[in-house]
């Protein structure tokens, strides 16, 4: 509404954020946990003068740098790109609140990057204690990045006592979800790193002693990580806003994913305990790949849930999913959604000057337009009010199939009372006349009732 809407056919623009975010977190958590792994294990190998282990760690560091410094860093920038494109109002709000949080994270990133390159390129050129110290600098800098970013994403789920009027950075940063999510993500970083290490070492280490050593040593952070995930997860659950609780209970898919994430985490914990910890010999490349796949599935589920439970908000009680500030709804209902939009008003004024009265869109005149124009403006409303979460006729959460079989009046009633029909939907933010023309459009994309269905008994009895 404040910005032009980016129409991504079939998928919806915010789904691009989800795709890039999930791919990114699978690497960024490894970037954090891997820092601790390399610092601790390099120190251990130096202390025991274990040349074979140091050689392995050098190889692992190459894999680590190539994955995290290139793919991890660029997909991190990719998240910036996509949130600005698909959620500009929420991004603007977050940046106005957390610019110095991100600036601090950038400082951590500078330290991280310098340490990573020195640690990698000066392998064997620095004294062992100094080399290990550089590894620790990397690890803590990366963890500070995790803390800051997690606090910001946690804010989106529950800003706590923060208000846009006061815009207190510290209140926003220390939100109720901050600690539980930091604990869970720290655990996730440790666990996921061990799974990467298992997979990498199962492929590249031939010597049995070394394999056993790597797997045994990596199982402790994995077990600690699993415990932290569960502890953080319980905290996350406990501090959820009431509406997020309700979303969890109401949506079957989220319910299922919630069960899945706990089940997968516990399964990984058990397998790590029975496998690498108790019986390191079990860890074949196949077993390691399965463990990594289970871990990735748990992570992806967790990210999906984290995004879903915020509905209908992008920032809880501040920005709705469809890029409207919560405080704007009443005015939009009074003046009109098309009139209130920074991009919809000039569009309507240029295309349909006949609906303008004294420089404003006259809602009543919208109903006087020919049916094709009403449908077209209904589509404009759909783009700006609905397309954040719904594709049109086909695609992600498409509205067409969901309206199948519904009569026009029922669709109109749903549009006018969106938040009543589904409590996790944003409220209708337009005039009654705009609801009419949006309904015209929705009816135009509604597929016909499937042939052969007899909802009220036999075909003969149906009027």
């Amino acid at each position: 509404m404040h910005y032009p809407w980016w129409h991504v056919p079939g998928l919806t623009a915010p789904m691009l954020i989800a795709v890039i975010s999930v791919v990114h977190v699978l690497v960024s958590h490894y970037a954090v946990g891997g820092g601790f792994f390399l610092a601790i294990e390099t120190g251990h190998a130096h202390r025991h003068n274990d040349r074979a282990y140091l050689d392995y760690l050098k190889g692992h560091a190459t894999f680590f740098v190539l994955l995290t410094v290139v793919f991890g860093a660029i997909t991190g920038v990719g998240i910036w790109w996509t949130i600005g494109l698909a959620s500009p109002l929420a991004t603007e709000t977050l940046i106005r609140t957390f610019v110095f949080g991100w600036a601090m994270e950038w400082v951590a990133f500078v330290v991280e990057l310098t340490a990573a390159f020195i640690f990698y390129y000066y392998w064997n050129k620095l004294s062992p204690p100094l080399h290990t110290r550089i590894g620790w600098i990397y690890a803590w800098a990366a963890w500070i990045s995790l803390v800051l970013i997690t606090a910001i994403t946690a804010f989106m789920l529950d800003p706590g006592d923060w208000s846009p009027a006061h815009n207190s950075f510290w209140v926003a940063l220390l939100n109720p979800q901050c600690i539980p999510q930091i604990v869970a993500r720290t655990g996730g970083a440790l666990l996921l790193t061990s799974l990467y290490v298992y997979f990498h070492s199962s492929l590249f280490v031939r010597e049995q002693r070394l394999r056993d050593l790597i797997q045994k040593r990596s199982s402790r952070p994995a077990l600690l990580g699993a415990v932290l995930i569960l502890a953080g997860g319980v905290g996350w659950f406990y501090f959820l806003p009431e509406s997020a609780w309700a979303v969890l209970q109401a949506a079957a898919a989220i319910n299922l994913l919630m069960m899945l994430i706990f089940a997968l985490t516990i399964l990984v914990l058990v397998l790590v305990y029975l496998g690498p910890y108790r019986n390191p010999g079990w860890l074949t490349p196949g077993f390691a790949a399965a463990l990594l796949a289970l871990g990735i599935a748990a992570f992806a589920s967790g990210e999906f849930i984290r995004e879903s439970v915020r509905k209908p908000y992008i920032i809880y009680n501040v920005v709705f999913g469809n890029q409207i500030l919560t405080g704007e709804v009443s005015q939009l209902r009074r003046d009109g959604y098309l009139e209130g939009g920074a991009w919809t008003k000039p569009y309507v004024a240029a295309k349909y000057p006949g609906v303008m009265t004294a420089g404003r869109i006259d809602p009543q005149k919208l109903l006087e337009l020919p049916p094709t124009d009403r449908i077209h403006l209904g589509e404009v409303l759909f783009q700006y009010h609905c397309n954040d979460c719904h594709a049109a006729a086909r695609g992600y959460s498409a509205l067409g199939p969901q309206l199948l079989g519904r009569p026009r009046d029922m669709i109109l009633g749903t549009v006018e009372h969106l938040e009543v029909a589904h409590f996790f939907m944003p409220p209708w933010a337009g005039t009654p006349q705009e609801a009419e023309i949006l309904t015209d459009y929705l009816v135009s994309i509604r597929p016909p009732r499937p042939a052969g269905m007899q909802p009220l008994g036999s075909a003969k009895e149906t009027p």
């Binding site: 290139v70 660029i74 940046i95 100094l130 000039p346 004024a349």
Partner: protein
Amino acid sequence: MDPQLFFRLHDAAGVPAPFWFVELFKVLGFTLHMVPMNLFYAGTLVAMLLGLAHAPQGRRFSARLMSQTPVIVALGVNFGIVPLLFMQVAYNKAFYPATILMAWFWMGVIALLIPAYYGIYVYAFGLRGKTPLAGWRRGVGWLSAILFVAIGFVFANALSLMTRVGQWPQLLEDHGSAGAALGTALNTSDPTFWPRWLLMFGLALGTTAVWMLVDAAWLAGKESDDYRCWAKQFATRLYVLSFAWTAAAGTWYVFGTWRQDVFKSMFSWPALPLTGLTAAAPGLLLAFLVWRRKEPLLDRRQTAWLGLAQFGVLAVNAISRQVVQNLELGPYLNVATQPTAVQWSPLLAFLALLVVGLGVVAWMVLQVVKAERGIRPS
């Protein structure tokens, strides 16, 4: 469509930093970003071309720069975060619409950067071996160099489109669906776009030339004097090319494409000295290089000053660009008068952390320097 309407809604919260602070970090960040970015934007292309050279020194420089490029790209990406962050703080109303109108191309930066960056590693790892570089690795190197130029093309599009507000309605009309953007627009019809893109490439050639001198004096201790002499001569010629290129593109940009009001402002007080300095700065550096052209080598002190001078060239260019950007946006958005709600304690916390962070970086670099010199590090 009336473009003024795009700017009429209030932001959710005030700008959390003073105007001068936003501008300072935006310009400083952009200048810092330009140094490494110039090296992978034009530098990789120069290096790939020199990789084909008959002169062994040319191939040597090619290998040197391509080996350094993985770190250079990382720094470029990292420093790019700062201007991007502060641009979104105060220029959100111009930046988001411009990038949304060309969303798929803007997303393309990420899609192009990942293979370009991996390609650089593939090439650099190939240089570590004792055998000649495999043909496929050369191919990957060329691909990376071309992708970097393509990324520059997209950036020039986005940043020029940011200020071309009057054209937004037409682009939305041509590349839209029911009032929403399809993200397929480009700003190539903007007369300022092409000279801007070329201007940055010219500056990048100059930075590459200066880097060649700095590298030869400071980092190429194991190279022969013959190499260093060649580097000095080649860098001088490259800087001449950069100067000619920048002068041509800059003249086209300023005299051929600037809006009248922008032109008038930039050529009158108080912006006039800045405009003059921006135009003259590369010439001063060129004059020094021409003056010392007979000398076979430049010493470390001279190259350090040259490095700083090129940083200055980029900095005045960045300041001028910022002033021009504000003038171009002026009819729609006055960034300086936006409501502010300054977050002083986070601002100070950031500055404190920046000092600590730079201290840690300096300490680490010092340890590396000691290690390089063979001194047992502490």
